[in-house]
Each structure stands twice: as structure tokens, then as C-alpha cells.
């Protein structure tokens, strides 16, 4: 059976992976953890954190199919050569102290005097081993392991220049390759430890260079990490981190209120008041994860741009903030204002039901006297909205909001629900005959607006990608391609700003809200719980009382 897992890995070699986000968005890799805790003094305290699910595939970052908000284990245990500096929005040193990058290759100078948690040295041999393990099917350590996200980094070859220098060659020339080098498939682990255990065992006992050592791991139940006292960077504040996994978010809230845990990720919206009344703190933080819906542009009525624009105006995006008690932030375009490539000149579709109604009327869809559904040539304005099961938090509000708002302006709406497991299959969202509007979420694999908008190009049609509604515009595609190939940041950003104008005008997506990571914590134990870009709690920068 392990050979079969290896085969799955080979099969992944030709896809462009996106992100699994909050278990209900499209798939993605994740950037490496910040190596330094900013100003948080190390303590002897234990932090007990409850999460509703953990990443599938254990704690070996290179092997997991990660759900972003819960990908804490590898992020605490392992590091890549470079990391993403979230405050400066740029790639920064991590296990490499410096590098040169010419598009098709990068040469890294490795950080000296770093050891893995098993005491073995970090050097060029270790880097070569790790990268070949992930992408090279002829390499022994590559056999018997699955690397679902391996192809997200365009590895071509890796050469040891000297003990502390490596050169990595890439199959493509893209400006965002160094960002990809911060992600899970590029995480470095102890070759000695990897070779000592079977892959099924290793993923629960990984050995990285990171700030925490994994001391126990029960999949889907609990894992425990101790601070790595030999860590090369600033030591994190918590001496021990215990992660408790319980599928039922209500159970975690009960644990929090009864004092068994210090914090809980993603409590249910209906429990917010109970949590606050019990003296606990709820904190939200925007993540680069987005929700809304895809228009199916291959058939009426949303093959018409004005019809899509009318639907955009019909949705009251602001109301989701109130309804979700702050767990969602409205968004009006493909790129949010916290991203470098955001175009402030693009004004999105703010809620205007009257304008939506006027546009529908202008298109010939008229409300009959006393009727609630618009008609044209004797046909009702009918749309099928598809959603999947298993939503939680603010996402549970998404379909009801869309349906009620569309009904308010005269749409006849039917909701089709498919099981979560079938979402991205021919029995679900890939069957375009089933729906006009598909509710879901999306994220970039890296914090790059171009990568995010690649989801919307012709090249991302199913099965190559997740442009499930089949929006296509050659001009838009070209701008995204040119941006990806441009190493001039100003030009790259300008192209993406122009691409946002096209998306705004053509409205192929119904952008509704930006996901907010929500944490409930005990203020008697923690004073601040910062989050990272993709929604993980930044355990390295916790502030204890």
C-alpha cells in the first residue's frame, strides 16, 4: 500500500496546487513560520490550544494536505530556507542567510551552526536530501511517501556547491518562485530521522530545525510540543504547547469555559455571547482567505455581464459583518486592501438593491403586479445556487444571505446541496449543468495577488484548476501571465491592478467577505493572540499574562 502512496505523489507532479482553506475553500500550500518571536519573552508556561481539526497527513510539512488554519504542527517544528516576512511583505532569510535568484535558479548561503532537533547538522547535504526527497522519483527517500503539494514548487534539480551553499534550478521562470520556496514542500527536516523511520511513522515524529520539538502526536486527537532549547532563533514564549483536536467546536468551547484549555479556534457564532458572558475574550483577525460564489458564465442568466453586475449589487455584503458578529469582513473585489497589489481605484459593487432591480428591468426581467419573481417572455428568472455540506462559522451565513438577497430583487432561487466530499468532483461543482452560482471560498497558495487571480484565468479551467464557472478573458489572462513573468515589482503590481479593473467590469466572481480567524481565549492566561496571514494562530508571538 505504501507504494500506492508513492504513486499518488507521482500523479501530483503536473498539477498546480491551490489551498485547502478552512476545509471549505480550494487547496493551498502555506508559507513558513516566522523564526523570531517579536518581543515575547520566553516563559515556563504551557499553552493549551483547541482546534476543530488537524491537518491530514500528520506533522511532516512536505507530506500534508493541509487545512490552512490548523497547520500549526509543521509550522512550529520545521522551517524552509526562506520565510515570508508578513510585516514587510517580502521574502526574508530563515535557514539561508542570503541568496541570489535569476528566475530559473537560486543559490542559497546556508545559516551556519544550525542543528536539527536530533542533534544532526544542518548543511547542504541536508538540503539536497530534502528537496530530492520531495520531487525526485529516482531518489530512495522519495519512494513510499506521498507529497500531494510537491509540484507547487517548480523544482528541477538541486546541487551542492559546498558544505554551506546549494543551487536550486527551477522548471519555470516566475517572479513568485521565491515565495513558493517558503512553503511546505520546501521545508527542511533531518535526513537521519527521515531515513530511520517508515514514512507512516515519521510523519508523527518529525525532526526539523524549528522552535518546537514534537514530543507526542495522536492523529486527530492531540499533539504536544516542547520548546527547542537549541533553536537558533529567538525562543518562543511557551515552554510547552498542547494542541487538542476535537471535531465538535462546541466541545472545545465547553473545555475553554471549564478551564481545561486556554484558547479555542473558530468557536460557533451562536456561542459568542456565552463565551463573552463567561469572561472570555473573542478576537478576530483577517486572513488571506475569501468567500463568495462563482458565476457559471456558460449559460443563462449569468452568461450576461450586466446580469452578473445586477447580482453583485443585490448582495448586502456589509450585513454579513453584523450577522457574523464580526467574524467576516466584506470585500468588493478579487484583491483585498491589505495586499500589496490592491488597486484602490477599483470601486467594488456596494449593496444597492434598487440599482440591481433597475438593471434587471433594463434587461427585460420585469416583476409582474403582485409577483415576487421577475419574468421575461413568460419565463421566471430562475437560478440554482449550489453549496456543500459542512460549513461552519460565518460560512453558514453565506448561502442564506445570497438566496434571500437575490430573492429580494426578484430572482427565483433554488438551492442545491452536495456532500462536502463531492464538492470538487463531477458529481458536485464540476457539473456545470447543476448550478448558476456556486458558493465557496478560495485563497492563494502564497501571499501574491497574481497567484490568487490565476484561479480566474482560462488556464485554471477544471481539471487544470478551479475556475469552475469557466470565466475567460484573453486580455485578463495575458496580464496575469505577464505579471507572473515580471521581476520588476512595480510592473508586476501595475499589471495586477489593471487585471482587477477587468474583473470588476466583468464580475465573474461574487466576492462577499474576507475570512476572519476567530479565537476565544482566557484573558487570565493570555493577553494577546496574534494571527498569521493564512489564519493560523501565531503561537511564537503569544503574549502571556
Amino acid at each position: 500500500m505504501m507504494n500506492l502512496h508513492a504513486r499518488v505523489r507521482f500523479l501530483g507532479a503536473s498539477f498546480v496546487a491551490l489551498a485547502v482553506v478552512a476545509s471549505c475553500t480550494q487547496p493551498s500550500t502555506q508559507t513558513g513560520v516566522s523564526p523570531s518571536a517579536s518581543g515575547a519573552a520566553d516563559t515556563n508556561k504551557t499553552f493549551v490550544y483547541g482546534m476543530p481539526q488537524n491537518a491530514v497527513g500528520g506533522c511532516d510539512g512536505t507530506q500534508i494536505v493541509v487545512t490552512v488554519p490548523v497547520g500549526n504542527c509543521p509550522l512550529l517544528n520545521q522551517e524552509a530556507l526562506v520565510r515570508y516576512d508578513e510585516s514587510r511583505k517580502t521574502v526574508a532569510p530563515s535557514l539561508a542567510t542570503s541568496w541570489t535568484f535569476d528566475g530559473t535558479s537560486a543559490t542559497f548561503k546556508l545559516r551556519p551552526s544550525v542543528t536539527f532537533q536530533d542533534g544532526t547538522p544542518f548543511n547542504a547535504d541536508a538540503v539536497v536530501f530534502n528537496y530530492r526527497r520531495v520531487w525526485d522519483p529516482t531518489f530512495d527517500a522519495n519512494k513510499g511517501v506521498k507529497f500531494p503539494l510537491a509540484a507547487t514548487v517548480p523544482f528541477k534539480s538541486v546541487d551542492k556547491i559546498d558544505d554551506m551553499t546549494v543551487k536550486v534550478n527551477f522548471t519555470t521562470s516566475r517572479a513568485d518562485t521565491m515565495l513558493l520556496m517558503t512553503t511546505y514542500p520546501a521545508f527542511i527536516q533531518s535526513p537521519t530521522a527521515v531515513q530511520k523511520m517508515t514514512p507512516a511513522d515519521y510523519t508523527f515524529k518529525p525532526i526539523g530545525t524549528g522552535p518546537y520539538k514534537v514530543t507526542s502526536y495522536q492523529d486527530a486527537a492531540r499533539f504536544e510540543l516542547d520548546r527547542n532549547d537549541g533553536y537558533w532563533g529567538t525562543k518562543p514564549p511557551a515552554a510547552k504547547v498542547v494542541i487538542v483536536i476535537k471535531q465538535d467546536a462546541n466541545a472545545l468551547v465547553s473545555d475553554l469555559l471549564s478551564g481545561a484549555i486556554d484558547a479555542s479556534l473558530s468557536p460557533a457564532l451562536e456561542q459568542f455571547d456565552q463565551i463573552r458572558n463567561a469572561g472570555m475574550t473573542i478576537q478576530t483577525s483577517p486572513a488571506l482567505v475569501f468567500y463568495g460564489a462563482n458565476f457559471n458564465v456558460t449559460k443563462p442568466p449569468f452568461d450576461n455581464t450586466q446580469m452578473r453586475q445586477a447580482a453583485e449589487y443585490a448582495i448586502d455584503k456589509e450585513s454579513i459583518t453584523t450577522l457574523s458578529k464580526g467574524a467576516a469582513k466584506p470585500m468588493y473585489g478579487a484583491i483585498v486592501d491589505s495586499m500589496r497589489e490592491y488597486n484602490p481605484d477599483v470601486q467594488g459593487y456596494k449593496y444597492d438593491a434598487k440599482k440591481a432591480g433597475d438593471m434587471l428591468t433594463a434587461l427585460g426581467w420585469v416583476l409582474p403586479a403582485g409577483g415576487k419573481v421577475r419574468m421575461k417572455d413568460g419565463q421566471p428568472l430562475h437560478v440554482d445556487v449550489i453549496q456543500r455540506t459542512g460549513y461552519s462559522g460565518a460560512t453558514t451565513l453565506l448561502t442564506p444571505l445570497i438566496v434571500s438577497n437575490l430573492q429580494d430583487v426578484g430572482f427565483d432561487v433554488k438551492t442545491v446541496t452536495v456532500e462536502q466530499a463531492l464538492q470538487y468532483t463531477p458529481q458536485g461543482y464540476f457539473d456545470l449543468s447543476k448550478w448558476n452560482l456556486a458558493v465557496g471560498g478560495w485563497s492563494a497558495s502564497i501571499p501574491d495577488g497574481g497567484k490568487l487571480m490565476e484561479n480566474m484565468t482560462t488556464g485554471a479551467f477544471v481539471p487544470a484548476g478551479f475556475n469552475i464557472g469557466k470565466y475567460s478573458n484573453p486580455t485578463f489572462d495575458q496580464k496575469i501571465t505577464d505579471a507572473a513573468a515580471s521581476f520588476d515589482q512595480a510592473k508586476h503590481d501595475q499589471l495586477l491592478k489593471e487585471a482587477q479593473v477587468i474583473l470588476k467590469n466583468e464580475a465573474p466572481w461574487l466576492w462577499i467577505y474576507q475570512y476572519q480567524s476567530v479565537i476565544a481565549f482566557n484573558p487570565a492566561k493570555i493577553s494577546a493572540a496574534p494571527f498569521r496571514l493564512f489564519g493560523q494562530l501565531d503561537i511564537l508571538n503569544l503574549k502571556f499574562k
Binding site: 499518488v8 503536473s14 480550494q26 471549564s258 481545561a260 459542512g390 463531492l422 481539471p463
Partner: protein, 322 residues
């Protein structure tokens, strides 16, 4: 007696075989498969790649071929690897069986004890107490067990902070759990899980008492002036046990059904929660192993019931025609 045991064991094995075939097929007839689910979540939607993965896992073979291959491995104690996580299924199931057995046993003992006391009281008390005790089982049976679980958590864990809200151990204990901690974690889920079987036992007990009390030998004993307590203990109650044993299988099935809900509410790391996740992910190998565990538990409990019959019913031990 030997023939009886052999017959029951043989039929139990046939039941297991039949159940394994039905369930093996059922999970595969449900739309969706683990490959599409896992690769889909990793961003792989290409039908060719999905098809090649399905072939690699042998999921494209005819069902009988897949079944025979699976059964031959199972016969050697090899349940394969999880199609989703890659972990050995025996490891996954082994982690879950213990907590489920513990919860099931605790709920069985509690259910039987509470149900008997409740039923006997409802059988022999009179007045308002009798009426309340006789109406209560119906009330318990119509209230979903997960609601009872949530109420218990709110009362004893969140409000009073007397008992842990969920899980098998407290977060800080990990693998080094004390017996006292284990018992405190067990109380609320066991209580929530035992209520349905306790109600069934109570109803059966007082109904049987009512029936037995009308029997001639009881009336005769009363006419002879035998004290009521002695009649109850020596003559009436032994006859109550037989129907309770008879329905033991039903009680086990009620326990297993409700255990899935209770394990979810209390985040109890048992077979039930494992199965829920595995079914959602179409993780065939884990589902099959879990179902087999449940089927074995059911069959073993049925065998145990049959064994008890041998002990308590002389008509089974020594059939009249032998």
C-alpha cells in the same frame, strides 16, 4: 449443549461474513471516493490523474475481486493503510477500540443497574411514585441522547465545573493519565449513554413484574402467607431476568447506535467518531475495519447473551427431547 454452542458460533460467523459483504458494497455504492476527495483537497482535479490513482489503489477492480483481496488480508490481521492519512488501519482502530469498549461497558453496567432498580421500584411501589417512575422511561426515550449529553456538560462541566466537559483525558495529561482522571472523564458520557438502555430495562422490568405477579405460583405463595419481600426476591425477580437477557442484543444495539452521537458530543476518541470522519472522507479501509469491529462487538454480545441463557434457563441447558 456443545451442539448449541457450535450452532450459535457458526451462525455468528455467517452473520459476520454477510455483514462484511453488505457493508463492503454499501460504502462503495455511496457517491464519491477517497481518491477524488483527497486529491481534490490537494488541488488535483485532473480526471486522468484521479483515474490513475484509483487504479493504483485497486479501486477500479470488480467489487468481488476487491472484497476477496480485502478479506484475505484481514484474515492475516492486515487491514491495510488509511487511504487518507496513510497510517496503518490497525493502529488507528487499536487507538479507538479501547475507549469505545470502556464507554460501552461503563454504560452497560450503569444502564443495567439503574434500569433494574428503576424497574423494580416502578413494579412494586404504589401511588404517585409508581406513576412517575412508569412514565419516566417514555420521557427519556423521546429525548435525544445528545441533548442529554449537552445538558450534562452545561450543568456539571461549564456551570459547576465538577467534571471535565469532554475527551478521554485532560489536555495536560496526555499519555500519562491517572485512573481517577479517566473515571472522571468517563462519568458524563457513560451517564448520557446509559439512559436509553436503562429506560428500556426499566420498562421491561416493571412490565415483567406485572406479568409475573399474576402467575398462579405467586398467587399461591401469597395465599400461603409468604412475605411479599420474599416472594419478590425468591420467585418474582428471577423470572424478570430472562426477558432482560433476551433483549440484551437490542440493548447492545441501542448502545452502539447512541454511542456515535455521544462520542461526538463528548469528543470521546472512540470507534464512533472515527467512523463519522472516515465515512465523510470515504476512507474505505478505515470504514471497513470500523464496521467489522462493531459487527464483532454485536456478535460477541449476542453470543454472551446466548451463554447467559445456558446458565439461567435450564430448558436451554437440558432440552426436553435429549
Amino acid at each position: 449443549m456443545g451442539r448449541y454452542i457450535a450452532s450459535r458460533t457458526g451462525s455468528s460467523l455467517l452473520v459476520l461474513l454477510g455483514a462484511s459483504i453488505i457493508l463492503f458494497c454499501t460504502i462503495r455504492f455511496v457517491p464519491g471516493d477517497p481518491i477524488t476527495t483527497v486529491l481534490g483537497s490537494a488541488g488535483i482535479a485532473n480526471p486522468d490523474l484521479v483515474a490513475r490513482a484509483i487504479t493504483a489503489y485497486g479501486l477500479d477492480k470488480p467489487l468481488p475481486v476487491q472484497y476477496v483481496a480485502w478479506l484475505s488480508h484481514v484474515a492475516q490481521g492486515d487491514f491495510g493503510f488509511s487511504l487518507v492519512s496513510g497510517e496503518r488501519v490497525t493502529d488507528i482502530v487499536a487507538r479507538r477500540v479501547g475507549p469505545s469498549l470502556l464507554l460501552g461497558l461503563a454504560a452497560s453496567v450503569l444502564g443495567l443497574g439503574i434500569g433494574l432498580i428503576w424497574g423494580i421500584a416502578a413494579g412494586y411501589l404504589s401511588g404517585a411514585a409508581r406513576a412517575v417512575l412508569r412514565a419516566a422511561p417514555m420521557f427519556v426515550l423521546v429525548v435525544p441522547s445528545f441533548s442529554v449529553g449537552l445538558a450534562l456538560i452545561f450543568a456539571f462541566a461549564v456551570s459547576l465545573r465538577l467534571l471535565p466537559a469532554s475527551g478521554l483525558s485532560s489536555p495536560l495529561e496526555g499519555d500519562h493519565q491517572s485512573l481517577a482522571s479517566l473515571l472522571t472523564h468517563l462519568i458524563l458520557p457513560a451517564l448520557a449513554l446509559c439512559l436509553v438502555p436503562a429506560s428500556l430495562v426499566a420498562r421491561l422490568t416493571y412490565a415483567t413484574i406485572d406479568e409475573v405477579e399474576q402467575e398462579e405460583f405467586i398467587r399461591t405463595a401469597r395465599a400461603l402467607g409468604v412475605p411479599a419481600a420474599r416472594i419478590a426476591v425468591q420467585h418474582s425477580l428471577p423470572n424478570v431476568m430472562l426477558p432482560i437477557i433476551t433483549t440484551g442484543g437490542l440493548l447492545v444495539s441501542a448502545l452502539i447506535t447512541n454511542a456515535v452521537l455521544i462520542e461526538t458530543v463528548f469528543s470521546w476518541p472512540g470507534v464512533g467518531t472515527m467512523m463519522v470522519t472516515a465515512v465523510q472522507q470515504r476512507d474505505y479501509t478505515v470504514v471497513q475495519a470500523g464496521i467489522l469491529v462493531v459487527a464483532v462487538a454485536y456478535v460477541l454480545s449476542s453470543l454472551a447473551v446466548d451463554g447467559l441463557y445456558l446458565v439461567v434457563d435450564p430448558r436451554v441447558r437440558n432440552p426436553p427431547n435429549t
